[in-house]
């Protein structure tokens, strides 16, 4: 009974190790991806500001960065 359990556990760990190796191999073979930014930088009354949209090759968005700097108005 104990031997059966040990064999099952060994089998599981080998499968886990193989799965982990597969993930690592996939990651290593993955080509570097490209990040694009489309930004607008604006100067107007009392302020500088910018707004950037970041996205990948396949057009999926990866976020927006924005900010501003302001004068006394």
């Amino acid at each position: 009974m104990l031997d059966n359990l040990k064999n099952w556990a060994l089998g599981q760990s080998k499968r886990l190790a193989a799965a982990a190796a597969l993930v690592v191999a996939l990651a290593a073979s993955q080509p570097a991806y490209a990040l694009y930014a489309a930004c607008v930088s604006t100067s107007t009354q009392c302020s500088y500001s910018y707004h950037c949209e970041l996205f990948y090759d396949d057009d999926t968005s990866t976020g927006i960065e924005w900010g501003g700097s302001f004068y006394l108005c």
Binding site: A34, L35, T42, T44, H51, L54, C73
Partner: protein, 418 residues
């Protein structure tokens, strides 16, 4: 595929590159892969050739604010005018909120303690907007504004339709224009409502509806434009009509109180780009964005990313557009030469005059273009300066003779573009 569209859009958008006359985009030092290019308004403005002749305002026309008024308006206060009123708002030195003071004929007529809530307010970037009758006010921040009746906050406006708002009041309603964000805002398809940039609503935000949209006759930069290339402001004339001014292009619309277009005019003057100011904006942007992009581009747990970016630089031609009576006042933005030039435009759009106030304003000779911004406020009868604090009467300014006027009397010809 859409990225290809972005590249093509970028190519169309490319005007003369920063600091150059060639159309090649310039690389952004500090962010490898990022290039700068001008928005289409720069190319558009090249069509206007009217020479700028600004009259230097003689110092004897400047009236320092009376001591009793000056003592009630701290240096950091945001000051605004509307109709006969001048208002000031500043952080309450004794409390959490803000102090609002309203003046008429240089006399204090109202003091309120305001406690804005539901949005972030800081003194920098805070602007005050008054109703012409002094009944309402708005505290405007870069991403939101709150409307007050007396000291009660009756409305809070925020969200994408309220970005960088320009605000006005008309007959118990609030009007505002927004600055569209981002280059990837899409234009409406045929059959859809046109892209709204200005809105009207009740003071509490209810019954919001579009006031002014980027329709075909407004899209002066089409077809190579983007909503973010336009930046409208709205102000109420004494007769109830509206001035809707695109600060980005210099296009001006006189409309009814409901936004129906009555006349169009384009600011016809040839302004020169200030390359130093452009460089400062570029450097500021690189500093800001590289701090945020850095971790994304140097994440050791991920395969190295290729990075490519384009930044459209939009420096508005005008920093201010405001009604004084039925006339229109325009101020040129830092980033263009001459900066801070005050243009008075007659209510019928037939005359325009320019006044230079630089020498009256206290600005350090070596100030960066960022700091060259001159704080001004307009009432129906006067142009107010913040540093030094005081005013010049419009009637005195308009009585100044233009050079050569004595030799050639008569009205100036109407500006072109009507």
């Amino acid at each position: 595929m859409k990225f290809l569209g972005f590249v093509i859009l970028g190519l169309f958008l490319a005007g003369p590159a920063l600091g150059q006359t060639s159309p090649t985009p310039t690389a952004a030092p500090g962010i490898p892969g990022m290039t700068f290019e001008h928005g289409p308004a720069v190319k558009y403005r090249e069509k206007f050739h009217e020479p700028v002749r600004c009259l230097e305002v003689p110092p004897q026309l400047f009236h320092p604010a009376p001591k009793e008024l000056a003592e009630l308006v701290p240096q950091k206060a945001s000051v605004a005018g509307a109709g006969p009123y001048l208002g000031a708002v500043f952080k309450d030195p004794k409390g959490e909120g803000y102090v609002f003071r309203l003046f008429r004929n240089e006399k204090l007529v109202q003091e309120l303690f305001l406690h804005p809530h539901g949005f972030q307010v800081s003194e920098r970037g805070l602007r005050l907007v008054l109703a012409r009758d002094g009944e309402y006010l708005a505290l405007v921040t870069p991403q939101a504004f709150a409307v007050f009746a007396e000291s009660t906050q009756v409305g809070l406006f925020q969200g994408s339709e309220v970005n960088a708002p320009e605000v006005a009041f008309v007959r118990g309603q609030v009007l505002w224009c927004r600055h569209p964000m981002g280059l990837r805002e899409r234009w409406p398809k045929p059959g859809e409502e046109p892209y709204a940039v200005c809105y009207r609503s009740e003071l509490d935000g209810s019954s919001r509806e579009p006031l002014f949209s980027l329709e075909d006759d407004v899209r002066s930069l089409a077809p190579n434009d983007n909503p973010a290339d336009y930046y409208f402001s709205v102000s109420l004339r004494r007769d109830g009509k509206l001035w809707l001014v695109d600060n980005a292009t210099g296009n001006i619309f006189l409309t009814s109180s409901t936004g129906a277009k009555l006349r169009k005019w384009t600011f016809p003057f040839a302004l020169e780009r200030d390359l130093e100011a452009e460089r400062e904006l570029q450097e500021w942007f690189v500093g800001e964005l590289s701090a945020k992009l850095g971790p994304r581009l140097h994440d050791a747990t991920k395969p190295r990313e290729k990075f490519e970016g384009k930044t459209t630089v939009n420096i508005s031609v005008l920093s201010r557009a405001s009604a004084a009576g039925n006339d229109l006042l325009l101020v040129t933005n830092t980033g263009w030469k001459p900066a801070n030039a005050v243009f008075w435009v007659s209510s019928d759009l037939r005359q325009a005059r320019c006044f230079a106030v630089d020498k009256l304003a206290e600005k350090a000779p070596g100030a960066s273009s960022f700091d060259k911004y001159i704080r001004l406020a307009f009432t129906d009868d006067a142009l107010w300066l913040r540093e030094p604090f005081g005013y010049i009467l419009w009637q005195d300014l308009l009585a100044l003779e233009e050079p050569g006027e004595r030799d050639a009397p008569g009205e100036a010809p109407p500006p072109p573009g009507q």
